[in-house]
């Protein structure tokens, strides 16, 4: 399609949206980075130093938090994908009842994260219905500790419950772009259901799979509120530790170091994604 060449006015028209984002996100990144090196300090004298970086990286507790958040991010994104992908495949072809099904599935998308956390907390608490049912069926003798558990399964479960619709929507979009001809051709050539899945659906939906996993990972990795209500007592998630370091202990410089760590990991993963996406779609230049 013919697109008009952009004029100077057009670049000006970009400003309201782009400028707004750049000013606010840019300034917050700038302050985070500057404070992590001891500049723009609000508590003491401003001076360029690596001291805070050394302190954070010699601190076992900080490292525990980083590892914990990485683990939660990875587990949540993989688990959500595993739940959502079969659903997306099933909903690819329309049929009776599927409209209702996809409406019910989408409900958690509209439930705010904190509410979702609370709803699941109710179920998995010590005398919650899940434990009661499992005990009534004599599968377990005494209630399982699923809430605030050491590993963080409770957090993962909440992330999965809340984010299945989000991932499903993205996957449905990329599955919809696969043409039926391709699938039919494979069937005619004798491909079974499994090889159609492995050689057609998964590879062709790969961009959608990657983007949904990345967005999921970023959400779960940088999460503050869900971990703070359903996560273990120790370690706190990295965002939770950062916020406590800043507002409870007033060590803004150390909090800034943690902030930079979160940003760098997030951007690194996003960059990795875009390389992977280029690779699978053959956009490699």
């Amino acid at each position: 399609m013919e697109r008009k060449k952009a004029s100077a006015v057009d670049y000006l028209l970009l400003l309201p949206g782009i400028g707004f984002i750049v000013i606010f996100i840019g300034s917050s990144i700038y302050i985070t980075v500057a404070q992590s090196f001891g500049l723009l300090s609000i508590t003491g004298k401003s001076q360029f130093t690596f001291r805070f970086w050394e302190e954070v990286f010699h601190d076992k507790e900080s490292l525990d938090s980083i590892l914990f958040s990485l683990k939660i991010g990875l587990l949540s994104s993989v688990a959500t994908l595993l739940c959502a992908f079969p659903m997306a495949l099933f909903l690819r072809k329309s049929g009776p009842g599927k409209g209702l099904l996809s409406t019910i599935i989408k409900i958690p998308q509209f439930i705010p994260a904190l509410v979702a956390a609370f709803l699941i907390i109710n179920l998995i608490s010590y005398h919650g219905i899940v434990n009661e049912v499992l005990m009534a069926l004599h599968i377990i003798d005494k209630p399982l500790r699923m809430l605030n558990d050491k590993f963080g399964w409770g957090v993962v479960l909440i992330q999965v419950w809340k984010n299945i619709p989000f991932v499903l929507l993205i996957l449905q979009g990329s599955l919809a772009s696969i043409r039926d001809d391709t699938v039919d051709a494979a069937k005619n050539l004798g491909a079974g259901a499994f090889s159609i899945l492995m050689r057609i659906y998964i590879p062709l939906a790969m961009p959608g799979i990657l983007i949904s996993m990345i967005l999921m990972f970023i959400k779960a990795f940088g999460d503050f509120s869900i971990t703070s209500v359903a996560g273990p007592a120790y370690p706190p998630s990295i965002a939770l530790r950062m916020r406590n370091t800043a507002t409870l202990f007033q060590e803004w410089d150390k909090a800034a170091v943690l902030g930079v760590v979160i940003i760098v990991i997030t951007l690194l993963i996003t960059w990795l994604y875009s390389r992977l996406a280029d690779f699978v779609t053959g956009d490699e230049k």
Binding site: I25, I42, V115, L119
Partner: protein, 276 residues
């Protein structure tokens, strides 16, 4: 063979619907029950259902907590954020969708920064910027913050909608002598309306849910529904109060889900977020 497949498909559909009703419905049902527990007859082990139901918890929450004020703040903030993000997004999305801008891909990625950037980091250090301009603890500051979190969806969805308008239609209108105003009013805006509406829904729900920035920038002067729920889930965990607040926070969203179901086609979300 074909008939068997259809039957299998039916059975699978029913099976998935049942699974989903339990998976989504049970947590909601439990919250409803908890919110209706009578304070004089506590619901405890081993009762599967509460013995007495009453509205007492609802009355308590409305009479003795800040919920009404939080509701007002939340539902005042969201339309403001929608309006501001709409005004800021329209020109930007128009250019991104219809013109050959240099570095278009770069701008498209840049737009997603507010949702890619970890919320708590942005909240914490943006609050330093806001403090410098006396925007913390102010309503206008919260509007700016909520706009920031919603604007990526708006720009992305609108860009995709502008892109989808066939150039022929615009050319035809130009040939027939349409001026810029007519083109905007009679062609561009009507054709992007579905995208516009789903953008509005996204920004509205994003604003109602926004927690990190509101928590850091707005509390204690301004409480929204999420921050009030957080306070009930925190150190003094009061399940019954939290149930009421959780339900209040959910009801409008679920109504909206059914109203906009038509609009929330998967292609909008994947068009807006499908590629970085």
């Amino acid at each position: 063979m074909n008939k068997n497949r259809r039957v299998l498909n039916r059975i699978l559909t029913i099976f998935f619907i049942v699974v989903q009703i339990v998976w989504v419905g049970l947590p909601i049902l439990m919250a409803v029950l908890w919110s209706l527990v009578d304070p004089d007859h506590p619901w405890s082990f081993p009762n599967v259902f509460p013995e007495y139901l009453s509205w007492a918890q609802w009355k308590y929450v409305f009479n003795y907590t800040n919920i009404l004020r939080a509701l007002k703040t939340s539902y005042l903030l969201a339309p403001c954020a929608v309006l501001l993000s709409l005004l800021l997004s329209l020109p930007t999305a128009y250019v991104l969708g219809r013109k050959n801008v240099k570095g278009k891909k770069f701008f498209q990625t840049l737009v997603l920064l507010p949702i890619i950037m970890p919320g708590m980091v942005v909240a914490l250090f943006l609050s330093r910027v806001f403090a410098a301009f006396h925007l913390t603890q102010s309503f206008f500051g919260l509007v700016l913050a909520h706009t920031l979190m919603g604007i990526p969806y708006m720009i992305r969805v609108l860009t995709a909608s502008f892109e989808a308008i066939p150039q022929d239609i615009i050319d035809a209108a130009e040939n027939l002598g349409a001026n810029t105003w007519i083109k905007i009013k009679d062609i561009l805006l009507p054709m992007v309306r579905p995208g516009l509406l789903s953008g509005i829904v996204f920004v509205f729900t994003a604003s109602i849910e926004e927690f990190n920035l509101t928590f850091i920038i707005g509390t204690p002067t301004f409480e929204t529904i999420p921050t009030i729920l957080y306070s009930f889930l925190g150190y003094n965990f009061i399940r019954t109060n939290a149930s009421v607040v959780a339900l209040i926070m959910m009801i409008p969203n679920i109504i909206m889900l059914f109203v906009v179901e038509r609009l929330l086609k998967s292609d909008y979300l994947s068009a807006s977020l499908g590629k970085l």
